[in-house]
Symmetry: C2
């Protein structure tokens, strides 16, 4: 039964009924489901060169140099006004579980991928550095230092692939979800794209969609893993299984109650709506329309439902919707949108283009050695800005964001209270877990503080510019102890 | 170290050295890695409506009607000439592991998703029907019955989401990979897109890329899980970690040998190539170029390498390549291509549009009841062809495919030897597991039998038309026993 959010959920287990969306999973043992939950190791989600670079650095004596890597993107997807940080919570799980167990080490040895010295080092691996980042749900712009990973080169370089996989996927989905939820106004959005993407990417996509403003998902794994409210309607197969459409509707109502959602476009919509109300009565919960000219059909069905006295029966539309189709239905009598393909494929942009770059490293392995800014310099458009960065979003007098300010060196006093990075991992310990509802609310708030044109669907430039503030030349930071000390949230020098 | 396929692999564990790509994983205990391997359950990769339809059908007494579901697509992605079936092996794993364990049942009960009768039924669930399908690696066209699932409505309807997730994702990647491997001619392709997609989708993407003709992957999880040969080069971070580029190259060569691949575009390419050959000697394995005008730079680097006597040093290019960029480098002195983003996002088409539709079902729950063809009939473009189908690819006199013939009823004698569907699951038991190399070879052979224009990169219609042959009216099949009997590969009536 499709339960439209905002109403009282029917059963005791409906997570929106008070417990918050991340609580349920804690009650059961989930390790045996093959879901990416509490996995003993995420260490194989790694490109081979990370291990061979480690081996070479170990031999060269450079592996222990204190290093700063940053995640950022050089550009937003073409035409997009803002990006949405999503996946941070999954990154924290991945870092915590990043271990090389016996089977992985045996594989690396057998394949001859790295030498014994490196295998011994990996056997002891546990990330012990610091991670700062934009809190999940925040918006971002070109150059925003979305995540900053600090520690020895060796311990940080290994995390490149898994961090990027998670952030690039989840942020792409969340950005599409955010545009769709803007377009939908207050109407609820249902994520139903599991069948259009990898079965585990689907679970992460549901999570990212929720962050971006979706209300529910059809994916049971996402309900299980993340406590996202789940919903369901009915498929054409169910109608076709039965001898008549009336028989199918009766079977569904008998079992699932009058509050259920009947699918009315298997044969003739008008006849189906009439039959649906005859079978379920005017208390029928909702009808779903999955094909045809949705604008036209929704108007016709609404009129028919009202004439039949089913004024409270809602209309749910599904059928290859994207943010543009959703917006085009704003004036139609639609109560909820189900979105599949376009959501899980990022509505034309299935990946964010985030990269993970070394931006500063110590001059030697001495824990007291100062950091020096580094950056790729060759021509070809892939240059980066070196140095460990802070970021702040400068508001105008009305509190509306007017610039993303990214800098090295001291943070200007006027921006001190508007900084974006928060500490996520401190000395290897995750310090910033939070419920998904908090993340979702943060996204809504961050988007609301952008200029109004942020939510225009038309293609455009990033809605605020990124400004760079460079450190005074010669400024360097002398760390307390090899990248292990907690970084102050306040002013940070390079 | 990047090892270009076709050469003798260096270490004892290089899977191409004889054992085939699916053997390695059998030697180790993989269950504790959090990879989607041997998972006890895939049952949560399910949309909620499958369970609520089950509940309604159980109550209505229709759940046991023998049913035939088919996977097909109404169209190829815009402009594509053929599709590639990939993921079949993963579907078989998913079906085999599709069980509702205690934790899943507790979740469904707590959330009130289905009633106790349904929970009891799910507790006993084990697919006991038959699955036929195009063998993995085959090509497909609009309307091709890519997979056919037969059994009771109840047991088949539950598999919809997981089957579609796998086939839609993997086939989309394999189709892109196939175009890229055509474009690359005989030059090897390296899959390096893990960082651009969900961490587990990446593993499946590596597998699909291998099916589509890629030679290697950078993704260690894909090497571990599927035995795909893994390779690695070096990142800009490694060069930047060291005080000089020369120091970085020396460190890499000292540790990984002269056969390694040096990344030469961190600062100045010409200077880097000179330094690389000075450090490694003319025996240097390869250089990688990751930015700039690759055509121009590859020519310049080749000339420089040759002048330095490094005539055997290969050139590997990476940098947002797609099939068009690969084709444009056909005349350049490039030895291998590394492909990331565009591969794992399906080069513009990140999902296939396969659907899972009920095409026939029994008139009653009687195991002897005849099947009747069913299909959605409303307007709106989403109509289907009812009836259980066979498919054959008709060759012309030269053996080149000229039509995809899809039909119900008896198979014409002339097509009997050209049928495409093979049995994958028989009475619930998987009967068609095969090594990934067999699948990869099958794809190459199937593509080679298409008209030459199949591998043109320009947009076009499907390279062969789909023709429908309908069963004589009134023909029906009387099954032996409720969908459990093995289906003949030969002529099949509706």
């Amino acid at each position: 039964m499709l339960q439209i959010p905002g109403e009282v959920p029917p059963g005791p287990g409906h997570a929106r009924g008070g417990r918050g969306v991340t609580d349920w999973v804690r009650q059961v043992d989930v390790a045996d489901l093959g879901l990416p939950v509490d996995v003993p190791s995420t260490a194989l989600f790694t490109d081979q060169y990370e291990l061979t670079m480690l081996q070479a650095a170990l031999k060269a004596g450079t592996a222990e140099r204190r290093s700063v890597f940053e995640v950022f993107t050089r550009r937003l997807p073409d035409g997009r006004r803002y990006g949405v940080v999503a996946g941070t919570g999954r990154v924290l799980d991945a870092i915590e579980n990043f271990r090389f167990d016996a089977a992985v080490l045996a594989f690396l040895r057998e394949r001859g991928i790295v030498d014994e010295v490196t295998l011994d080092w990996l056997d002891q691996y546990r990330f012990s550095g610091d991670v700062w980042g934009y809190p999940e749900g925040e918006v971002y712009f070109p150059g925003s230092p979305i995540m900053r990973v600090e520690g020895s080169f060796a311990e940080c370089v290994l995390l490149e692939t898994v961090i990027l996989s998670i952030l690039n996927h989840d942020s792409a989905i969340a950005a599409a979800a955010s545009r769709m939820s803007s377009a939908a106004g207050g109407r609820p959005l249902i994520e139903m794209g599991a069948r259009r993407t990898h079965e585990l990417a689907a679970v992460a996509a549901s999570r990212a969609a929720y962050v971006g403003g979706f209300a529910t998902t059809s994916d049971l794994a996402a309900g299980f893993r993340y406590g996202i409210p789940t919903v369901g309607t009915s498929a054409h197969a169910f109608t076709l299984l039965h001898d008549t459409e009336r028989g199918a509707f009766r079977a569904q109502v008998d079992s699932l109650g009058r509050g259920t959602t009947l699918l009315v476009d298997t044969y003739d919509v008008t006849e189906a709506v009439r039959t649906a109300v005859e079978v379920a009565g005017p208390e029928l919960g909702a009808v779903r329309i999955d094909s045809g000219d949705l604008l036209l059909v929704a108007h016709r069905v609404r009129r028919q439902l009202d004439e039949l006295g089913a004024t409270g029966t809602r209309i749910i539309v599904t059928s290859d919707l994207d943010e543009y189709a959703i917006a085009s239905l704003a004036a139609a009598p639609v109560d909820a949108y189900g979105v599949g393909t376009q959501l899980v494929t990022g509505s034309g942009h299935p990946t964010a283009s985030m990269v993970y770059k070394l931006v500063a490293r110590a001059e030697s392995s001495d824990p007291q050695a100062p950091l020096v800014a580094v950056a790729k310099k060759s021509t070809g458009g892939k240059t980066s800005v070196g140095g460990r960065k802070w970021a702040a979003r400068r508001p105008d007098a009305q509190g509306v964001a007017e610039a993303e300010v990214v800098g090295t060196g001291p943070v200007p006093a006027a921006l001190a209270d508007h900084q974006l990075l928060v500490q996520l991992v401190k000395g290897g310990e995750v310090v910033a877990r939070e419920p998904l509802d908090v993340v979702r609310d943060r996204h809504a708030a961050a988007r609301a503080r952008l200029p109004l044109s942020a939510t225009q669907l038309s293609r455009g430039e990033p809605v605020i510019p990124t400004e760079y503030v460079h450190a005074p030349s010669g400024s360097q930071e002398v760390p307390g102890a090899a990248g292990r000390r907690p970084l102050p949230r306040g002013p940070q020098s390079l």
